[in-house]
């Protein structure tokens, strides 16, 4: 019969229309600003810098090794290495980024910076509502805007953050054991804990580029 196929198709659409009132499976849309889909843990969008402790400047894990800057495919990371050093999480003296900018209008959220970072210092955020009226400055995030606490990392990627913490703790224990062994050998231990967490004063961003 001519038109049978069309009627069959219409029956299908009718089934979906009626079904959308009773079955959640058939009603797939949500009204975005009011309703939100539950976040998926693995989600990523833009990178942020992890810091430990309360002070973001002192606690930054980044040691300005510039591997991420080199590997970033769209070249959206800009790092200026400090001239002085500060202690990192195991107490070793390390450089820190005097300036760390990410242009998120260029960033393509590929996660390669996270993969190549040997210090677990850069991770992917899930914050996506970043619209701004400032086209250039508003989308160029400096290290203050990028710095987010380890607690924040735990909140957005709990499983991954626990693994990272375990890895860091293991590394710290290894370094401390090594330091202890070295200290026992030298018989006159200077003590890693004695290195006061002297916070170096980083130059203002404008001055470093001059």
């Amino acid at each position: 019969m001519l038109g049978e196929g069309i009627l069959k198709g219409l029956a299908e659409t009718a089934r979906n229309f009626a079904g959308s009132f009773v079955s959640a499976d058939r009603l797939t849309t949500v009204q975005y600003p009011e309703q939100r889909i539950a976040p998926i843990e693995a989600t990523r969008d833009f990178p942020f810098l992890v810091y430990d402790g309360a002070d973001w400047e002192a606690g930054l894990r980044c040691v300005a090794c510039q591997i991420c800057e080199k590997e970033c495919p769209p070249q959206c990371i800009y790092i200026v290495k400090s001239t002085d050093k500060k202690p990192d999480y195991v107490g070793k003296q390390q450089f820190y980024p005097a300036r760390f900018d990410i242009d998120i209008s260029v960033c393509m959220s590929c996660q390669i910076c996270v993969e190549v970072c040997p210090f677990e210092a850069i991770k992917m955020d899930t914050e996506f509502e970043l619209s701004t009226t400032d086209r250039f400055g508003g989308l160029l995030h400096d290290r203050k805007e990028l710095a987010k606490s380890n607690e924040h990392y735990h909140k957005i990627h709990p499983t991954e953050a626990l693994e990272v913490d375990a890895r860091l703790a293991e590394e710290k224990a290894k370094t401390e054991a090594k330091a202890k062994a070295a200290a026992a050998k030298a018989a006159a231990p200077p003590g890693t804990a004695a290195a006061a967490p002297q916070k170096p004063v980083p130059a203002a961003p404008g001055e470093t580029t001059a």
Partner: protein, 390 residues
């Protein structure tokens, strides 16, 4: 409704300018279809010469989306190009990742762990299901059924994209596969979720068939339209569902057996009438075969590592040489040709995109057809301009 009189009395040879004589009444009308038309939004144009409603000449014009991908990749580390391959055929990023990873693995001689191979098959077949469903949706949309079939396809695509996001972190720009494996392992709960989605797929295909397959309007518009003869398809290097709809039995999953495809049982559907309707049906049938592969892969997936422990992420330098890795992407044969000169980045990086090569026979399929059918034939090729222009 009679099929369009095809008048295939053209000179033989696939790339010769066609000899179609206008009937001498009135003048030819040249129309620029695009860059803005229903199926491509500002990235593709067809310059059509019309005699009344009949197409006399057709010239595809592309390049609007050129991004210098190949040259950029030659100045970048091997890993650095991986996220850019997502952007080639942005409907199915995972198969692009796979083809590139395969090429680099051939170049460096890396082995891929068993579990990673299974994961690749699962993700590749999910991509194929999603691509074919949306391709049908777009095809019907171009026919004038604004939205409904496309949205039904997207409803299913959404479930697959959620799976991708849960595993890779992104819905489309996944950047998931690595040389020598996959970036992260799938958890048990992810696999359970994948099984649930796959279990729901046959019902979706049934509904989709019910909605479209016997629809009289669809049959009248597509049957006998845009015929692609097998010899022309072979000569032009057409691959994928396009080639199989022309009745040529060529599926790289069967021919090459790359990855672990020779472990799975699946059939290759072939077309008999070589027209747009066949291309539509081939995609539906391939979805069914893909569901079969998915069920087998999800049943057999072993435990173990997903990454070759010896694999290096950065700073590796393959020995001088060349490699060509190809896979059966949803749109056809996707190949990456790499030449290494021993440095950290490829000396030459070349992509063989299925979309571009399938597009070359667009004129041959459209000649003598009505202008309204051009959009339909174009839709049945199933291209993504990100891949055509690179």
């Amino acid at each position: 409704m009679s099929a369009v009189d095809l008048k295939l009395e053209r000179t033989e040879g696939w790339n010769r300018p066609p000899v179609v004589e206008p009937d001498g009444e009135g003048e030819l009308l040249e129309v620029a279809m695009g860059p803005h038309h229903p199926s491509t939004h500002g990235v593709f144009r067809m310059d059509v010469a019309l005699d009344g409603e009949r197409v006399i000449r057709l010239k595809p014009v592309f390049g609007y989306l050129h991004r210098n991908h190949e040259k950029l990749a030659e100045g970048m580390s091997y890993l650095g190009s991986m996220p850019f391959t997502d952007r080639l055929d942005y409907i199915c990023p995972l198969t692009n990742n796979w083809a590139y990873a395969l090429a680099v693995e051939k170049l460096t001689g890396q082995q891929v762990p068993e579990r990673a191979e299974y994961l690749r098959v699962i993700l590749g077949e999910l991509t194929r299901v999603m691509n074919h469903a949306s391709a049908i949706g777009f095809l019907i949309q171009e026919m004038g059924a604004s939205g409904t079939p496309l949205m039904y396809a997207f409803k299913e695509r959404e479930k697959v994209l959620d799976l991708f996001e849960a595993l890779t972190g992104a819905r489309m720009m996944v950047n998931y596969m690595r040389f020598g494996g996959c970036r992260v392992d799938a958890t048990e709960s992810w696999l359970a979720g994948a099984r649930k989605v796959v279990a729901g797929l046959p019902q979706f295909v049934d509904e989709f068939e019910q909605l479209l397959m016997t629809n009289e309007i669809l049959m009248a518009r597509t049957q006998g339209v845009g015929i692609l003869r097998p010899e022309l398809a072979i000569n032009a290097g057409v691959t994928g569902p396009m080639l199989r709809a022309s009745g040529v039995n060529y599926d790289i999953r069967k021919v090459d057996g790359y990855g672990i495809y020779n472990r799975f049982k699946f059939r290759v559907p072939l077309g008999e009438h070589w027209d747009v309707y066949d291309r539509f049906m081939i995609r539906l049938l391939e979805i069914r075969e893909s569901i079969g592969i998915l069920e087998q892969a999800l049943k057999d997936i072993p435990t173990g590592p997903v990454m070759d422990p010896k694999a290096k992420i950065r700073g590796f330098r393959p020995k001088p040489g060349e490699a060509y890795g190809r896979i059966e992407a949803p749109k056809g044969e996707l190949g990456f040709y790499l030449i290494s000169d021993g440095g950290p980045n490829p000396y030459r990086y070349r992509i063989r995109p299925p979309s571009l090569i399938n597009l070359t026979i667009l004129e041959d399929m459209c000649l003598g057809q009505n202008v309204a059918d051009v959009v339909l034939i174009f839709g049945s090729v199933d291209i993504v301009l990100g891949e055509v222009d690179r």
